[in-house]
């Protein structure tokens, strides 16, 4: 895991790097963490979005994908349903661009 799983399997102790420092940038992308989530998940309402990217800035994980300076749909593989993005979203003219919705199992 975390870049320390080689092609064949897990590393042996002789291959442990000092301090277990991960030298591979962005290796967390290899691990999907969205198998569980709080009862609510964020919904993006594009017409209310001013592309301020505060949601991208505040997201503690990797759920908001940005391409060419603009956010796209949520990546729920990394969303824990914390709701910080919805809380921080300024929206447009009082209408939030992110709202939390109860997740239907």
């Amino acid at each position: 895991m975390m870049g320390y799983k080689d092609e064949k399997g897990l590393l042996g102790w002789k291959d442990i790097p000092p301090g277990m420092v991960i030298l591979e940038a962005g290796s967390a992308l290899k691990i999907k963490t969205g198998s569980w989530r709080a009862a609510y998940r964020p919904k993006w309402i594009e017409e209310n979005c001013i592309q301020c990217l505060l949601c991208w800035l505040y997201c503690p994980d990797n759920s908001i994908k940005v391409r060419d300076g603009k956010r796209e749909e949520f990546d729920y593989e990394y969303c824990k349903g914390c709701g910080i993005c919805a809380f921080e979203c300024p929206g447009k003219k009082g209408n939030k661009a992110i709202v939390m919705e109860e997740e239907v199992k």
Binding site: M1, L10, W13, I16, P18, G19, M20, V21, I22, S27
Partner: protein, 393 residues
């Protein structure tokens, strides 16, 4: 040119830190360390060092800031005593687990409760299994010399581990004695430029510290770390040999004093070793074959070397300036016992607890220990494997 001065232990260690000029120091004051950090902060204020001094709200924060600064890629120092070290407890393991070469003088003081500001070794002993290398120092000269050598040991690429340097609170930290300072340039050259390993501030090469390691890898990580400590004695000796060239002072993994032809021996740490050596000289004049072993590298403990140095004796007393609370032997005793266990012919062993909370250790105490050892060696019997000395009934 060395300079001979009359100074306190804290002054000597602060002087060493000025000569080394670390990048970052985050510290919180606690007696008897306060005087050390106060002196160092004066050097910062006076512009004599370029160190970024971070004033924090606790020792937990002090060591946390040091962990951050060290991972960022700086040469980092802090210092503490007693409760301060206890409050660092959680982060001690993070520093060693991240393999960060932080250097920390620990000015030995008794742990609360009862609250006490004077010397014993319960603080550093409580942290002996936290993954930090420990160098123990008898006097101000050794504290100064060990501080300079600690950076070389910690930062060695085969090691990259944090190092504590211990010296006795008040007895050494606040008492004036004669020591020899090395020249600033000599110390700077000896310590050398700081070499990075995985600095976070190297933004061209992004990296992460502190991954979650669960059942699939933690066991391997710990095995790998346990192997690293095997490199430490060799590096400590290499650094000591180089240090001898610049200072004329010889250091080893431990000091042997009149031990080779001895029949009975005392094992003791730090300042009380000095008193004991004096009393040993007196007994030697009377024909009593007594010697002393004073550990310097206490973690990792050089079991092979210590065991070989003691095995020929008839009786050994381990003097601990810390009791292991909860009804076992003193901490030093365990290591000496473990180092001797493998030999079929080995000395009888006793453990005496002395000097807790700053209680004076006097020459008559050392004499009493030697008398007891004579009896143990003569009778071949240990009546009391563990006892307190210098205690009122």
């Amino acid at each position: 040119m060395t300079k001979v001065v009359a100074i306190t232990g804290n002054e000597a260690v602060a002087y060493a830190l000025r000569q080394i000029d670390p990048d970052v120091c985050a510290a919180y004051p606690i007696t008897p360390q306060t005087d050390l950090m106060q002196r160092f902060s004066s050097f910062v204020s006076d512009g004599l060092v370029k160190t970024e001094l971070v004033l924090v709200e606790s020792e937990h924060s002090a060591l946390s800031a040091c962990v951050g600064a060290s991972a960022a890629g700086g040469r980092v120092v802090t210092a503490t005593s007693a409760q301060g070290l206890a409050l660092m407890w959680e982060i001690l393991f993070i520093a060693s687990g991240f393999r960060l070469p932080i250097v920390m003088p620990v000015v030995n003081r008794a742990l609360s409760a009862p609250i006490n500001i004077h010397c014993d070794h319960s603080d550093a002993m409580g942290a002996r299994d936290s993954g930090w290398i420990q160098l123990w120092s008898e006097n101000a000269q050794e504290a100064y010399d060990n501080t300079i050598q600690a950076f070389r040991i910690a930062e060695h690429m085969d090691i990259r581990l944090p190092v504590m340097i211990t010296y006795d609170g008040f007895i050494i930290s606040h008492s004036i004695e004669r020591i020899e300072y090395l020249d600033d340039e000599v110390v700077k050259n000896f310590v050398g430029e700081y070499k990075h390993l995985y600095p976070l501030l190297d933004v061209e090469k992004p990296k992460s510290y502190g991954p979650l390691i669960l059942t699939d890898l933690y066991h391997e990580v710990r095995k790998a770390y346990s192997e690293v400590y095997k490199n430490v004695p060799k590096v400590v000796m290499e650094v000591a040999e180089e240090f001898e060239k610049i200072s004329g002072r010889k250091y080893g993994l431990f000091e042997s004093y009149r031990l080779d032809d001895a029949e009975i021996g005392i094992v003791i740490l730090n300042s009380a070793a000095g008193t004991t050596k004096d009393v040993i000289d007196e007994y030697r004049e009377k024909g009593v074959k007594v010697g002393l072993l004073k550990p310097r590298l206490f973690r990792p403990f050089p079991y092979e070397e210590v065991g070989s140095a003691l095995k020929h004796l008839k009786a050994v007393c381990v003097l601990d300036r810390a009791d292991a609370f909860g009804g076992s032997f003193g901490p030093l005793y365990f290591d000496i016992a473990a180092s001797l266990y493998k030999f079929s012919d080995k000395p009888l062993l006793i453990n005496l607890i002395y000097g807790l909370g700053g209680r004076d250790y006097m020459p008559e105490h050392a004499a009493g220990v030697i008398e007891e050892l004579k009896t143990v060696a003569m009778t071949g019997k240990v009546e009391k494997p563990k006892e307190y000395i210098g205690v009122r009934e």
